[in-house]
């Protein structure tokens, strides 16, 4: 079976997040009020072949502990979804996630304009 995996790497509580705090401080200047708790992490996407969800999760947890995170400063939240093993092996869209307008805008700016 093939699973799409989303690993969200987050800074652990108490670890300084200067990017998050800088973004949060900038928001009122841009007219966005009432937004708090901004944190910046990483999203890592991949596909994994495994016999079942439990073994997939076990391998991903091991991968997170040994490589994708530094447990001294980071935590990982793993989302697994049984994928449809697309030909190009790129992960599909994990249910519950949406692609925001920002992505479209960025593509337009960086494209042939």
């Amino acid at each position: 079976m093939t699973f799409d995996v989303l690993v969200e790497v987050r800074l652990r509580p108490g670890i300084a997040d200067p990017q998050g705090s800088t973004i949060e401080r900038a928001l009122p200047v841009l007219g966005f009020d009432g937004i708090t708790g901004v944190h910046v992490g990483k999203a890592i996407r991949f596909c994994i072949d495994a016999t079942d969800e439990a073994s997939a999760r076990s391998e991903v947890d091991d991968l997170c502990a040994r490589f994708l995170t530094n447990p001294v400063i980071e935590d990982a939240v793993v989302t697994l979804f049984e994928g449809d093993a697309t030909d190009d092996r790129s992960p599909g869209t994990i249910p519950g996630t949406t692609v925001g307008g920002g992505a479209t805008t960025a593509a337009g700016i960086g494209g042939e304009a």
């Binding site: 300084a16 200067p18 490589f67 994708l68 530094n70 001294v72 400063i73």
Partner: protein
């Protein structure tokens, strides 16, 4: 016979020649090691230099830790061999588990490129053996992720075992307990964010780093050339 130091080059390292020059200036011998090497036989000490190993992708040091040479470095360290990680090399050593804790982004989110004052806290390490406790040293820093952090238990252990070897006099990056450099339990593995190899000649603004690297060369157990044991100002 002069101490022979191996300076590891990862893809993205950029301070390896500074380290080689400094070792030469202090009377030692130095050769570059490639990160794909699986053996470091014939070297008396190893330096992991500054830079951006593997582009700092994922985290600084996270991928360098898996370079083939690191298995040899881990074995070398386990046998008591002197290992020095400077800046990115310090980050690699923490990722490899040879030193505790981690380096997070500087408080203030600024890349820091300046000269700072360090205080020697312990002389019981392969780096600080030629210095004296309380000695002040002016040494450059050049980093974005140099804010040392660790859990309270680790910090208590580092303090209790006299394993904090260097502290910042005026903390530039938010490091816990002003830590600029630490050593392992065996005191033969040292990591620090400042660059002593860039402060080994008065022409560079400071030669205060020489006392550290001279101590490192002496710690290799080889006889450092007599000429190099003269004061740093003679370099």
């Amino acid at each position: 016979m002069a101490a022979r130091i191996g300076v590891v080059v990862f893809p993205g390292s950029n301070c390896e020649h500074d380290a080689v020059e400094a070792v030469h200036a202090l009377g030692g011998e130095a050769d570059l090691l490639w990160h794909g090497d699986t053996s470091i036989t014939g070297f008396d000490g190893v330096v992991l230099p500054g830079g951006f190993a593997h582009g700092d992708y994922l985290r600084p040091g996270a991928i360098a830790r898996f370079s083939p040479v690191m298995r040899a470095v881990v074995r070398f360290a386990a046998d008591g061999g002197p290992v020095l990680g400077i800046c990115n090399g310090f980050q690699v050593l923490t990722e490899a588990g040879l030193l505790p804790g981690a380096l997070q982004k500087n408080a203030g989110l600024k890349f820091l490129c300046t000269t700072v004052e360090l205080e020697v806290v312990s002389t019981a390490s392969v780096l600080t053996g030629a210095a004296s406790v309380g000695q002040r040293l002016r040494v450059p820093i050049n980093h974005f992720e140099g804010n040392y952090t660790c859990d309270e238990h680790t910090l208590a252990t580092l303090r209790g075992d006299d394993r904090i070897v260097l502290r910042y006099v005026d903390n530039p990056n938010g490091s816990v307990d002003d830590i600029a450099g630490i050593c392992n339990e065996g005191r033969n593995v040292v990591g620090l964010m400042p660059h002593p190899e860039r402060a080994c000649d008065p022409l560079l603004g400071s030669d205060d780093g020489a006392v550290l690297l001279r101590g490192f060369l002496a710690a290799t157990g080889a006889t450092v050339a007599a000429a190099s044991t003269a004061a740093g100002s003679a370099l």
